[in-house]
């Protein structure tokens, strides 16, 4: 495919020759104006909104639609860029006043014409917008629109720069065949026609051409001598065989021309020595030269560079480079501490930006674009920031939008930033996120000051801070964490106590746990909890198989509070065996207790009556056989019926069978009636 850049002249000439005709096409002019105003919108937009703003994608769509519309009848559209505005051929396109600024921006970057060919893709437009954004937002001395457009080498978008144009009147007045930027005088390098030598013979002899004087001042030879030398040159020794000569040259060419394998190897070398290699090679070289050139002109120049370079490196994302330079400068400052104290201090002063909030702000704007390997060492840099600025740093870390980056930054800080009083003090900070970050930065360090700080944070006025502290506390030993955990278990905030309770229940083989849970399961404490929270706790005891705490749970079967009792029943029901709860089930299975239960509770409770406890159960409930309800109180027969239904379920169990038979022969009419009723129903 022929690139747009290669069709430059053709398009340039077409628009130059047909401008008047095209300008009479009102529709075309209207569409072109709209296209131009989109340019303005995009450039102005980049100054106001981030590049990710969806508006730019919409602009690209509109641009493509407009372009396709224009390019239905003509193969390409070319916009001239002049200080008067966008031009269509020699006609100025009357556009919005605001667009004048945009045109000037393009003009100033050396662009004189931009054109689009039929087939321009949205991707190309998008890339063009990206270039505009880059120049609008980060314009610097290293690139401009023209250089970036060249880099992109678009298939369908072309441009003409100021360098490629020559004033028409100039080219007309001078015969274009003779156009040459060089004058003979410019190509001359000294008086006379100097520089013929005869090196092998008469070496060093005046006029031979190889003495310094000859080369510098032009030799004193005259035209006649010149003839002599050129005759010498033309003197051929013997007959030359063309074929032999061709053979020789072919051999030379095949020996010395770069082969495919060499190209491949060089390409491999380039890949191995990527951009990061160049940066690190450069920095190492600079660092080494800096150390070895103190007191020289170059040394001062290098120091000047290094002083500002660490900031540049940072703002361009090379954290490790910046660290290298700060460290190098610090080493130099230390070396000069005694001999040049004033100078040494001045070098140190250049690090003052490390505590300059504005500078740090600028840096944080770039953090999300920094490669992962550079983020990994960011902590080393922050370790150089005075600790009094730690709160600012931590707030800025909170501001990092990407969670991954934020975590990576914190992890790096945790690795490199030392614990200081300033950092410890941040565990009391009013912003819980700052507290969280401070805690995260300290947690992996072996420092005796950390635990008291975390413990204190458990009482932080902000709930989230307490949670964070608690979570961290749990990572420490039980002995260290227990007092705080116990406090947290009885916290008024569920967010705090829930994880604390969970953590405590997870701590097995610890005798200190049971008293805490015992206290928690006191009816007055349970009543302070939310309803589902009680379920959670009871069920956790069962699911975590805390056999040592089962008695505390079983105890709840005997509580006076029917809600809590029901929750205990439901939790115990999920246990794999009732054996551990038999003592409490049996006590609760007393007919008088059962009679007090509401139907749903009663039904749920009776499901706890399982064969594994029958051995103990039946001897203990003999009063059930003889108990009878009053005329108006049906609670005892109801309880009895539910009880027998549960037993009848296991009627094949010998114990159950025996108990049923015993009941039928108990002589209690009510009991016999209930058992028979159930028997009839199920058999």
């Amino acid at each position: 495919m022929v690139k747009a850049s290669e069709k430059k002249r053709e398009i340039f000439d077409f628009f130059k020759d047909n401008a008047d005709k095209l300008f009479n096409d009102n529709e075309l002019v209207k569409s072109t104006k709209e296209l131009v105003s989109l340019f303005g919108k995009v450039i102005r937009g980049y100054r106001l909104y981030p590049r990710t703003n969806p508006a730019f994608s919409r602009f690209a769509d509109q641009f493509k639609v407009k372009l396709d519309e224009i390019l239905t009848d003509i193969p390409s559209i070319s916009l001239r860029i002049s200080t008067k505005g966008f031009m269509f051929g020699s006609h100025v396109l009357e556009t919005d006043d605001k667009d004048r600024e945009v045109v000037f921006f393009l003009y100033n970057d050396g662009l004189r014409e931009i054109y689009f060919q039929k087939g321009t893709q949205k991707d190309e437009i998008w890339q063009l917008f990206d270039i505009l954004a880059q120049c609008t937002l980060f314009a610097n001395d290293d690139y401009d629109l023209s250089t970036l457009l060249w880099d992109h080498n678009f298939t369908n978008i072309g441009y003409i720069t100021e360098d490629e144009l020559i004033k028409q009147n100039l080219s007309l007045s001078n015969d274009s065949d003779n156009f040459s930027p060089f004058l003979v005088e410019e190509l001359s390098y000294g008086p006379g026609l100097d520089g013929i030598g005869e090196v092998d013979r008469d070496e060093g002899k005046e006029g031979a051409g190889n003495s310094p004087m000859d080369m510098a001042n032009s030799p004193k030879f005259i035209a006649a001598e010149f003839d002599k030398y050129s005759e010498l040159m033309l003197k051929e020794e013997g007959q030359i065989d063309f074929n032999e000569r061709k053979e020789l040259l072919n051999q030379r060419l095949s020996n010395y021309i770069v082969g495919k394998m060499e190209m491949f190897k060089f390409d491999e070398a380039l890949k191995r020595n990527s951009d990061s290699f160049v940066v690190s090679r450069f920095l190492k070289e600079l660092s080494a030269r800096l150390m070895n050139s103190q007191g020289t002109k170059a040394g001062k120049e290098l120091l000047d560079t290094a002083v500002s370079l660490w900031e540049k490196l940072l703002l361009f994302g090379s954290v490790s480079g910046a660290i290298l330079f700060i460290q190098t400068l610090k080493t130099i400052a230390e070396q000069l501490q005694n001999t040049q104290p004033e100078y040494s201090k001045k070098i140190r002063d250049t690090f003052s930006d490390l505590e300059n909030e504005e500078f740090l702000n600028d840096f944080f704007f770039t953090v999300e674009d920094i490669p992962a390997e550079e983020i990994a060492v960011i902590g080393k840099l922050f370790a150089m920031v005075p600790s009094k600025k730690m709160d600012f740093l931590l707030s800025k870390i909170n501001g990092i939008e990407s969670r991954e980056t934020r975590i990576a930054v914190i992890n790096s800080c945790a690795e490199y930033v030392p614990i200081t009083d300033d950092l410890l003090a941040l565990t009391h900070h009013s912003d819980w996120k700052v507290v969280r970050n401070a805690l995260a930065m300290m947690k992996d360090k072996k420092d005796p000051r950390i635990l008291p700080a975390i413990r204190a944070t458990v009482s932080h006025p902000q709930k989230q801070a307490r949670i964070e502290a608690l979570a961290l506390l749990m990572e420490f030993s039980v002995e260290e964490a227990l007092p705080s955990l116990e406090r947290a278990v009885f916290s008024s905030a569920r967010d705090v106590r829930s994880p604390a309770i969970q953590k405590i229940l997870e701590l097995k083989d610890n005798t200190a746990i049971k008293p805490i849970i015992n206290r928690l399961l006191q009816i007055h404490n349970l009543k302070k909890l939310e309803s589902d929270e009680i379920d959670e706790i009871f069920q956790m005891i069962v699911s975590l198989r805390r056999y040592d705490l089962f008695d505390l749970l079983g105890q709840q079967l005997l509580t006076e509070d029917p809600d809590i009792r029901l929750k205990a029943i439901q939790a115990i029901h999920k246990a794999t065996t009732m054996t551990h709860f038999s003592k409490f089930i049996i006590r609760a299975a007393d007919i008088n207790s059962l009679a007090k239960m509401k139907t749903d509770e009663l039904q749920a409770f009776c499901k706890l009556l399982r064969p594994e406890i029958f051995d103990e159960l039946f001897p203990a409930v003999t009063n059930t056989l003889s108990a009878s309800g009053s005329l108006f109180n049906k609670s005892i027969p109801t309880a009895k019926e539910e009880f027998y239904k549960a037993i009848f379920y296991y009627r094949n169990d010998p114990q159950a069978k025996k108990f049923i038979e015993k009941s039928l022969s108990s002589g209690n009419k009510e009991t016999v009636k209930i058992v028979n009723k159930i028997k009839d129903k199920y058999l």
Binding site: E6, F12, T83, K84, V92, L106, Y107, A139, D141, D142, Y143, D144, S146, D163, L165, S176, D177, S180, F182, V184, E186, L187, Y189, I196, G197, V199, M215, A223, D227, L232, M233, L234, F242, R245, K246, L249, N250, L253, Y256, V258, M263, L270, N273, D275, V278, V279, F282, L286, S293, K297, E301, L302, T305, V307, S308, L309, K312, F316, T350, F365
Partner: protein, 484 residues
Amino acid sequence: MSEELHNNVISSEFFENSDRIERERMYDFTVAMNALLKALRLYGSGNDTVEKNTEKLNETIKFFFATDTFFDYTFNGNDFTLNDVRVRRKKGLNISFEELEDFYINLQIATIIFHKESGISEIVEFMLIGQEIIKSNNKLDTRFAQFEQRLKNKGIKIQITQRDSSGGDDLFNILNKSQLARLTYRNMILDHSMFKAKITENRPMPLKKAMRNIQNTIDMICDGSSDSQESHIMVLASINSLRGKMIATHLTNTAILSIAAGVQLGIDRSLLTRIGTAAYFHDIDIPENSRGEVVEHCQNGFAVLSRLNSLNFAMMEAAITAGLHHTTYTFDCKPIPPEKPIMSTPLGELIKVCDYYDLATRWWPARKTMPMKRPEAIEQLFKMADMRCFAKVTVKALFSALGVFPPGTILRVIGKKQLACSLDVFRTTGRKGKAAILDKNLNFVGIETFYPHELLEIPKGLHFRLPPETVKAMLDSFNEETSE
């Protein structure tokens, strides 16, 4: 410690001129200018807000007069620049400079030059006059002239320059490729002094300007079209020197040779820009009035190039190359064989070879030896590659770019008793290449094409430097060819 040494070490100039402080002040100044203009527009003179802003501007402007008596303040349509340094907008702050931008645009101003002796009241008056002209709703085209006249009448010393309006008329033609080739070559040489000036003034180097030339050169060497300018540009790269531009010519030639060699190795476009730019700057520290290279330039060259406007890889390559390119050869082109191969960077190695070639074939005023003939220089490069002074692949790349008779080589035509100068890249014996026919006095006679085996190098021990008239005629022949 000697006084000189002491001065070097103690000087705190660089601390005071550090980028950051300057950037801050420039930003503050721009904010103050914008605020004062706005206040003047809204309230007119003699208002408290105006007074406050005037005072603020007066404070901020002083900084720029600490060392200079005047400074340039430009709006380029996107940014403000102060003495060519861009005023960076602060990220995250939505402070607009709209008032100031409008002032420039509506009055068609490109640059305002503030003078130390002007004083704040004159600046206020300057602004008021400007705003009055804008309000008067005159035609945009006439405002600048009107403003300039009013300033003159009032004796205001602040100067203004108008935006370039030459692009407004349809008076341009597009250059043909050969014209562009020569213009680019010439620009590269002439721009050198501008880059040197920037270094001396400790200002950022407008790298983009160099890059545009490099990019044009790449296009011309490797566009692969029938009117490719490869031969033309390679002949240009054989020019010994434009008058008084010895170093600039050397840098330009090395840049072109590096690109051409890079093309032979199949390096992609972006790396070709990098190698070209790096080569173009590798000897930037050598003074133009120097009569030849001196080895010390490596240390200083590295120092000035490492300033970096931004983290530009080309500049890093340039700095590395500047610092290391003479580790394996002297200025006299004598080898310094290393014990084991030393590599700067792959691109740096390629630049080294091209630097050596141009160095060896150049008629340096201060050198005490004859320059090598071009094919001889290539031979020498291969020999030195065997001594580990160069990577062999890079020498081969240069050879591939130049052919058996590198452009600019003086030859004789076999059996014709005629001198010729190679104007083409002779890469194969099966294709004829162009050569300029020269008379016995090395005057240009015409262009002919030859198979390489019809040409022969001139005898050992003899060497010519082409007369400028001949060089010009040879170069002009490329233009004639395109015109035909």
